[in-house]
Symmetry: C2
Subunit: 333 residues, 2 copies
């Protein structure tokens, strides 16, 4: 096309952006969620499939293609699907590979971005799931407009995505932000898969909370609803339910967890001086039971310069959507 010097570039690009779509895929140990998302963060269509259904990564890519094709045909007729963003545990943004993810059954180094872009003929960007969640929060959630914040995902494990100067922190080899594995109780509880002692994940993940509950129940002299459950059946959800029924021991589990979390957060604040820390994931359903002791412990362990400066917030993304949204934002960059 020959450009008219009066051609309105701004309007042209705005229009182009408004019709651009991205596919977001969140690969989890149990389920994979996917959806078509526009640049306003609206999910136009979505679906989910069991990750464990596919013994090999190749079978997974084929299965995903089969399920996404109808969506692509429906929304992407004019080639306006700009890319596929994937969030996955141990996803390395720079290599496009899932690298030795302990909670996925595909072992070793899995070149997922290459396989998907070849199959779909659409550019594919991979990132760590917690980093993707941080981008989702930055673009559509509680961190909108923030340049420096830390996203902590409290689920089966503890993940994190750190944003500095308005962008994700990757570090030298792309692995920055493994905050779940930092030591907060030296010589403390041994982690079930890493073998590291006293790490944040050992205590503040859903798994860690269940272990704490079992330990406290064993030592408890007082009566507690937790005694109605076998040790092996106790989950963080059950602890939460007992706490909401007023059970003192269950509440104590969250106080203990929140205190450790808060101490760790104080250390993180003194590292990167964020505007906010945003908590995300299944564990945050505990709400104030976790937030109050965490906030108190964080403030107590901060150098005076940082006191009352950092917001401690819950994610504003709808839990089920967050993973897809976060992954889709990888496409917009």
């Amino acid at each position: 096309m020959v450009l008219n010097p009066l051609f309105n570039f701004n309007a042209y690009f705005k229009e182009m952006k408004s019709t651009s779509l991205a596919i977001g895929v969140d690969v989890g140990g149990t389920n994979t969620k996917y959806g078509v998302v526009n640049h306003r963060g609206e999910i136009l269509d979505e679906g989910a499939v069991a990750t464990t259904l596919f013994p090999t990564i190749e079978a997974f890519v084929d299965g995903l293609y089969e399920r996404l094709l109808p969506m692509i045909n429906k929304f992407g007729k004019d080639g306006n699907i700009k890319g596929i963003g994937i969030g996955a545990p141990n996803g390395n943004h720079f290599t496009g590979c899932i690298e030795n993810a302990p909670n996925l059954h595909w072992k070793g180094v899995v070149p997922i971005a290459k396989l998907i872009s070849e199959k779909f003929k659409i550019p594919c960007v991979l990132n760590n799931d917690a980093k993707a969640a941080a981008l989702g929060e930055l673009n559509f959630g509680a961190a909108k407009g923030m340049k420096d914040f830390i996203m902590i995902t409290l689920g089966t494990g503890v993940g994190s995505g750190i944003v500095v100067n308005g962008g994700l922190l990757y570090g030298d080899k792309g692995n920055a932000g493994e905050l779940g594995h930092t030591v907060i109780r030296p010589g403390g509880r041994e982690h079930w898969s890493t073998g590291l002692k006293g790490t944040l994940e050992s205590y503040c993940s859903a798994t860690g909370i269940a272990i704490t509950a079992v330990e406290m129940k064993k030592d408890a002299k007082e009566d507690t609803l937790l005694k109605n459950y076998d040790d092996k059946d106790i989950t963080s959800k059950i602890v939460y339910e007992c706490a909401t029924k007023g059970d003192a021991l269950a509440k104590k589990v969250y106080e203990f967890t929140g205190e450790i979390l808060g101490e760790a957060l104080a250390n993180f604040v003194m590292f990167s001086s964020p505007e906010a820390i945003i908590l995300f994931g299944g564990v945050i359903q505990a709400g104030d039971l976790l937030m109050n002791p965490a906030k108190k412990a964080m403030e107590e362990h901060l150098l005076i310069t940082f006191k009352d400066q950092v917001q401690l917030l819950f994610s504003e993304l709808k839990f089920a959507d967050a993973a897809i949204l976060g992954a889709s934002t990888l496409v917009w960059g």
Copy 2:
């Protein structure tokens, strides 16, 4: 000037840069060092004055002016002194103020950059002393060419400067990198000025090492050279001297210190995934006595992804020059 289209801009700017000079000023609790530095990091002239000589910041600025004027007249005749860079404890790069520095006798918020630029009629840039040292290392030392590294200064206190994506990490309010105040022994030794318990500085500063030595000496059943000294006379330097004479207890002090340092470094690595950690300051004169246990403890506490990936180095800057060099690099940006 009317530009010839064949004018060689590259040569012109190269020439301009080669004649540009910066003044570096390192404000310490005891002494202030200053010097004229060229862009290759060569100190053309330097001097020092006792900081404590000046009861007020205004008197300090006047005194500094008096001492620097002969250098400015000698080297800056053609207006080629581009700026004055100041490194100071609690120096805030964004406000140009020293903010409540516990180890300076000028209390409160001191607008040092404004006062100096007004007095000298030369632009003045302020930064935290550890951040300035990190820039010095980046431009002229062991971190040359690195994009992600952490500088830890082990002196009377423990400071740090964190470089990510090739630039200093400031965070939301400019205070990122207070790693000396992160907790590494929860509920441990109370810090003499912050009141925080079990922080890195409580153990791994020169002050902390002396405290450890006194504690270990008290409990020691074995004979030790440290028993030749009164508690109040024991410094990290004396501990070092005893250790080099083969004193077992003095060596144990450094093992204990190095172990705590290494554990903290592992946490920092899992935060920002640096290519290297560079140690700097008086305490590193202990060399391998400190480095060996630190390296061992760091590797032991790292997630497998990070093991054997991160270099642990000593600064390559000559100790006496580093402060001036670091401060001067603030001018080049």
